[in-house]
């Protein structure tokens, strides 16, 4: 057993001895105990008495046996997130195996075929939220394409004083239960002052018809954000000597929270994502979706403390730690930045199908400047829009992506007498949006706090080009769908319990096209096989186990189908998964068809 109880291990250089015949055996016990993380005693789930669970150190090429004992009074499981293994060892109850009954032990056995930073967590109920998760670090068999003097795991998580069951039932009963920053009646009157009665009212009307609110960035708040299980005031600290290169293995083990990560005063060179090496890219800040991992190298050249800051994307709080030459030091912790507000750009036109525009009167003040993604407006019926007598004030100048508007039927729009003043001259026809991962004009598109470089997915280029890169054999479209108000989350409008599995054939290459019709970000995770994130880098498209799909955007990934069995494919936001944003994927042998007519 090689658990690191302390986080600050000095990187041991791989011994030069022969590899092979390595077999590690590990024992993990899932249990419950009282912990005090935020100053308040609360029952947590632990692994080997630790919260989060211990870091598992594997070696590429090792055959591991992991004996997991369940001391809870309910079924449990562990899933090895991102590992390539026989599906029976993947740890998803109902798909891989039956789960681990109370009091029982399950022995996972599989060969470790990869290296890098990963993690593990329960795939039963909401146990991950309550502590059943931990890091996995797999040492590479060969020299890595970078050079570091020390390394640390930096595991981010969200911690609630409520149980997962309580949170989920609150959400089901009232979806905005945790939206503490809802706009108030006071905000409404501010909007009226700023935009006039009509606009302020219409704005509320359209958000209402989406069953969303502009402050719906994350659906659960009231979280404390932890770094390696420590609350901000506990100040998790990593030591260094100036001039050293330090590898930080960031893992987002949150149930529901995305983070924007930065270390004021240091640039970060990102060298790995989701366990796969990428060509080094130097950034000032990056966003980490739930379940993603990013490894960065930093090199502090001064003998002083630096804050590692991970602000929740909804800016309800932060996880924080310190890089310091000595224990007990701290650097300034910057103020939380303003919370983002969703804009009309984050609202997919597809999901506006049900919007009733027939009573829209007095639209003179509407600002459409941030409406994006209107590539296909043909189907929009404006025939009942009445009373638009004076549209002169409408500013369409900044509407990008309106490539295909020729079919729009405005012929029956009554009373549009005064449209001559409309300025369409500056519409960016099909212009690229500078590699952003968000819809143009999105309220969620991040910016670096120091005005510098914020990582985008297009920056991720595989270190080693994919050998069998080719066009996909076919494409599967998955629309990410949901209804916030009733807390339904689904794929193609169908929740897991009602859905047919996705059938794939061994050896085929399938393009998956995610279309996010909701107003939330969804971290989509495929078990057992890689997704090659397609941001136009061809054979350098990086391999990922989890990809973030932003609101009102389309993201494509190619899956080289290379693992038989049945696998889970789901949104990694825990309560979205529980609500049904989940599919079973079945991979079968390709059957050679006979020529029977």
């Amino acid at each position: 057993m090689r658990f690191s109880m302390i986080q600050g291990l000095i990187l041991a250089i791989a011994s030069l001895g022969p590899i092979g015949a390595m077999a590690g055996s590990y024992d993990l016990v899932i249990d419950e105990q009282i912990v005090n993380i935020t100053g308040k005693d609360k029952k947590a789930m632990t692994i080997n008495g630790q919260f989060p669970g211990p870091t598992l150190h594997f070696r590429e090429g090792e055959d591991v046996t992991i004996n997991v004992t369940n001391r809870l009074d309910v079924d449990s499981s562990l899933h090895w997130h991102g590992l390539l293994l026989p599906y029976q060892m993947d740890g998803v109850p109902g798909l891989s195996f039956d789960g681990i009954k109370p009091g029982e032990t399950f022995s996972y056995q599989f060969p470790v075929k990869q290296s890098g930073t990963y993690w593990y967590h329960s795939h039963s109920g909401f146990q991950e939220q309550e502590g059943v998760f931990g890091p996995i670090v797999i040492e590479a068999a060969k020299r890595e394409p970078f050079k570091v003097d020390r390394e640390y795991v930096v595991m981010l998580s969200d911690w609630s004083d409520e149980t997962g069951e309580q949170i989920f039932s609150n959400l089901k009963a009232q979806s905005d239960y945790y939206n503490y920053s809802q706009q108030t009646v006071g905000d409404f009157f501010d909007d009226v002052k700023a935009s006039g009665w009509g606009a302020a009212f219409k704005d509320r009307l359209s958000w209402g018809s989406m069953r969303m609110m502009p402050t719906d960035i994350a659906d659960v708040s009231g979280y404390s954000f932890l770094m390696n299980g420590k609350a901000p005031q506990s100040n998790w600290t990593a030591l260094f000597e100036k001039g050293e290169r330090i590898r930080l293995r960031f893992i987002n083990g949150s149930a529901m929270s995305y983070f924007d990560v930065r270390i004021p005063g240091l640039e970060m060179t990102l060298v790995q994502s989701d366990g796969n090496n990428v060509q080094p890219v130097t950034v000032d800040e990056f966003r980490i979706a739930v379940a993603e991992t990013y490894d960065v190298i930093v090199r502090p050249r001064e003998d002083k403390a630096f804050t590692i800051l991970a602000e929740s994307v909804a800016r309800t709080g932060y996880a924080r730690g310190t890089l310091a030459p000595r224990e007990g030091m701290a650097a300034e912790v910057p103020e939380l930045r303003e919370r983002p507000l969703l804009t009309m750009s984050d609202m997919s036109m597809a999901s506006m199908g049900g919007m009733d525009h027939s009573n829209m009167a007095g639209m003179e003040g509407m600002d459409h400047s941030n409406m994006a993604g209107m590539a296909d407006m043909k189907g929009m019926d404006h025939s009942n829009m009445a009373g638009m007598a004076d549209m002169k004030g409408m500013d369409h100048s900044k509407m990008p992506g309106m490539e295909n508007m020729e079919g729009m039927d405005h012929s029956k729009m009554a009373g549009m007498a005064g449209m001559e003043g409309m300025d369409h001259s500056k519409m960016m026809m099909g212009a690229s949006s500078a590699n952003s991962d968000y819809a143009p004009g999105s309220g969620l598109a991040p910016e670096a706090a120091n005005g510098g470089k914020f990582l985008v997915y297009a920056d991720l280029k595989a270190q080693v080009p994919f050998a069998n890169y080719r066009e996909p054999d076919r494409e599967i479209e998955l629309r990410l769908t949901g209804n916030m108000e009733r807390y339904f989350w689904s794929i193609n409008g169908i929740k897991y319990s009602d859905a047919e599995p996705v059938h794939l054939k061994l050896g085929e290459r399938v393009r998956i096209k995610f279309i996010n019709d909701t107003m939330m970000m969804h971290p989509m995770h495929l078990h057992g096989m890689w997704m090659q994130l397609d941001k136009g880098n061809g054979r350098f498209n990086p391999l990922k186990h989890t990809v973030n799909v932003a609101p009102n955007t389309t993201l494509t990934v190619d899956v080289p189908v290379d693992a038989l069995g049945q696998w889970a494919f789901h949104c990694h936001l825990m309560y979205h998964m529980a609500a049904g944003m989940f599919r079973k994927v079945i991979v079968e042998e390709a059957v050679v068809e006979t020529a029977a007519q």
């Binding site: 250089i13 020299r143 394409p145 970078f146 050079k147 570091v148 003097d149 001039g243 290169r245 640039e267 060179t269 990102l270 060298v271 060509q279 080094p280 890219v281 130097t282 190298i297 090199r299 280029k461 270190q463 080693v464 080009p465 350098f540």
Partner: protein, 178 residues
């Protein structure tokens, strides 16, 4: 472990600026005074030949000892799958050069695997962007090359790859003067 050897040579750099040979010709340089880093040498007069293999993304060696006035002939081979550089300069020079390389990659005149043949003469701001410094050589995957350098002993020098991110990931070694 990767040792970082203390450099013995620490001279006043700015006073020697007029002797600078290899400031580079990328244009858009910073204004820092260029130190005397030495000059291109003649292979036949080299005191030593040093063979270095370049990998993704590191050099076979982490440090080299050189003496003031010594001429080294470098035989370089890129065994990686990506484009790499072997560039002799000070840390600030490398930093400037990284800015230029980023620009070249962003503009499309260079990719992760090689230079792209194109005419830049009409591209505003890019007229003098080229990669032809005497203190540097770029090697495509599988490519070999040579470089001969006479060391002045007057500057703290590193050999480095300035492809975006490579230096920060550790593709840099030190020349130490003993």
């Amino acid at each position: 472990m990767f040792s970082i050897r203390p450099l013995v040579a620490a001279f006043c750099l700015s006073a020697l600026a007029p002797l600078a040979m290899a400031g580079g010709s990328h244009g858009s340089h910073g204004d820092e005074a260029t130190p005397n880093i030495g000059q291109p040498g003649v292979a036949a007069q080299a005191t030593r030949t040093v063979s270095i293999t370049l990998y993704d993304n590191y050099y076979e060696v982490d440090a080299l000892d050189v003496k003031a006035g010594e001429t080294l002939h470098f035989e370089l081979k890129n065994e990686g799958a990506l484009l790499h550089e072997f560039n002799i300069g000070t840390a600030p020079m490398h930093k400037n050069h990284q800015r230029e390389m980023r620009k070249m990659v962003a503009s499309g005149m260079m990719t992760e695997t090689g230079m792209v043949e194109m005419d830049h003469s009409n591209m505003p701001g890019m007229e003098d962007m080229k990669h032809d410094d005497p203190n540097s050589i770029l090697l495509a995957p599988g490519e070999s090359g040579e470089l001969t350098w006479t060391f002045s002993g007057d500057a703290e020098l590193e050999f480095a790859c300035n492809m975006p991110g490579h230096y920060q990931a550790g593709m840099v070694g030190e020349f130490s003067s003993n």
